[in-house]
């Protein structure tokens, strides 16, 4: 065992298996959490029948989805239709390789870690476009088009806000960014960047109030209208994994990663700190969803161009200036 772990390749293989298991369980847990949060916000209970506190409910739901027939619409583009769910799910697993769960736990602490995350998360849009186009359904197509427009508008402020952190730390390596926050967390000195990042992350993952591509009161289910069974399940799992990833990145960039506040770890292991902060952010995103009405598509884009991008840009310039002066 020791031997395998010390080997770089062995470490990667074991890690990948752990990542696969963790990402699945995490997504299932998040679905459960979402239903519980929604339930209690709405004065209901949420799932409670299967397992303690209904914890096994999502597993049962997953099994049901696996057992369902995979329907491919007659007029759909068969290849794209089949590729889309796979394409949407695979890229969201990649960021797990570089996420610094604790000091020793990033599977592979690449020096371009941040870049890897953002480049792979962009593939998501492509997958949605393929899925929406391939299903040959007007609702799906509208959803796909909206999704592309939305993501183009939100990638920019997202990256701008991340860039101000990168300017401060002068590195793209996740662990070094965390270590740079030893004494204070970055959201204290970069509040605007943190807020911009968080808003953009919500939009990036198509969560309410930015759930325009799948707005079910308008587009039925948006880009995944035609997907059934586990194909739909993959879209679903990818969405929740994505939420986890953006929150984990937010934790890394702005909330000090595996470290406790102001350098005090309080005897709690790093991984617990990391997960606690991430899940707190996930909770906030869910809280958003069950509070706000949905924006309209043009309002969303004008919000991005008129508010977020100028703010992020100004923040970046000020950061650069301050760093130069110091």
């Amino acid at each position: 065992m020791e031997h395998i772990l010390s080997n770089e390749l062995g470490r990667l293989i074991v890690g990948l298996i752990v990542v696969l298991i963790f990402s699945q369980l995490n997504a299932l847990f998040l679905v459960w959490l979402e239903r519980k949060v929604a339930g209690h916000i709405q004065l209901r209970i949420g799932p409670k029948e299967v397992g303690p506190y209904g914890l096994l409910q999502t597993i049962v739901d997953g099994l049901k989805l696996v057992g369902k027939e995979l329907i491919t619409p007659k007029r759909a583009d068969r290849i794209l239709f089949i590729i889309a769910p796979v394409l949407v799910f695979v890229p969201v697993l990649v960021p797990f390789i570089v996420l610094p769960f604790s000091k020793s736990l990033p599977l592979n602490d690449m020096n371009v870690g941040l870049l890897v995350i953002f480049s792979f998360s962009t593939i998501n849009v492509l997958a949605i476009l393929i899925g929406g186009w391939g299903s040959n359904n007007k609702y799906a197509l509208l959803g796909a088009i909206r999704s592309v427009a939305q993501n183009i508008a939100y990638e920019i402020p997202l990256l701008l806000s991340v860039l101000s952190v990168v300017l401060m730390t002068k590195t793209l390596q996740m662990s070094k960014i965390v270590q740079a926050q030893g004494s204070y967390w970055f959201f204290l000195i970069q509040p605007i960047a943190a807020l911009t990042y968080f808003i953009c992350a919500t939009a990036e993952t198509n969560r309410a109030p930015f759930d325009i591509p799948e707005a079910e009161s308008e587009l039925v289910a948006g880009f995944h209208t035609e997907f059934s069974g586990m194909r739909f399940g993959l879209f679903f799992l990818a969405e929740y994994t994505n939420v986890f990833v953006v929150c984990a990145v937010a934790t890394t960039l702005f909330l000090g990663g595996w470290q406790g506040p102001f350098g005090f770890s309080l005897g709690i292991p790093g991984i617990i700190w990391f997960l606690a902060k991430t899940y707190l952010l996930v909770f906030v995103i869910m809280w958003f969803r069950w509070t706000f009405p949905r924006l309209r598509f043009d309002q969303l884009i004008s919000f991005s161009w008129k508010v977020l991008i100028p703010l992020a840009l100004a923040n970046l310039i000020i950061t650069a200036g301050v760093i130069k002066l110091i």
């Binding site: 916000i41 209901r44 209970i45 409670k48 809280w287 509070t291 706000f292």
Partner: protein
């Protein structure tokens, strides 16, 4: 300046909204876990109709006059009476209602000259076939006696 004010005011309104929902998380739930907990039906609840049991005689007074049958807007009532020699009066033998077509208007209850119809408190009326909605009230009456 108005630009920043708009952002701040708008942002603050969102925070207020979040406050409303977060407060609810701690509130007790208002839903009722139905098969585990049951509710009392209100006194005037209208289930399907049933024959009223009068305490003085321990039976119903239906004489199969057919008023309810004629007054029913949906024609869901069919009844059959037969002369009871011992009592020297007509008594109902079968009283069928097709509850699946009943609109619970209560005209039968109100028009009954013997006042022997009433609404039951039955509310778990889901069944497997449409014919399960057909109830023989006389049998229902006899079964409820047991």
């Amino acid at each position: 300046m108005g630009y920043f004010k708009d952002i701040l005011v708008g942002g603050w309104s969102l925070v207020k909204g979040l406050e409303v929902t977060i407060k609810r998380i701690y509130r007790p739930v208002v839903t009722l876990q139905y098969p585990r907990h049951r509710i009392e039906m209100s006194p005037s609840y209208r289930g399907h109709i049933e024959l009223k049991r009068f305490p003085d005689t321990g039976t119903h007074y239906c004489v199969a006059c057919g008023t309810c049958m004629r007054v029913c807007p949906s024609q869901v009532i069919k009844l059959q009476g037969e002369k009871d020699k011992a009592l020297d009066a007509k008594r109902v033998v079968h009283y069928y209602i097709d509850f699946s077509h009943c609109s619970l208007c209560g005209l039968c209850v109100e028009s009954c000259p013997m006042q022997t119809l009433t609404f039951s408190k039955e509310y778990e009326l889901a069944d497997e076939s449409r014919w399960d909605g057909v109830i023989d009230l006389v049998r229902y009456f006899e079964e409820s006696a047991r």
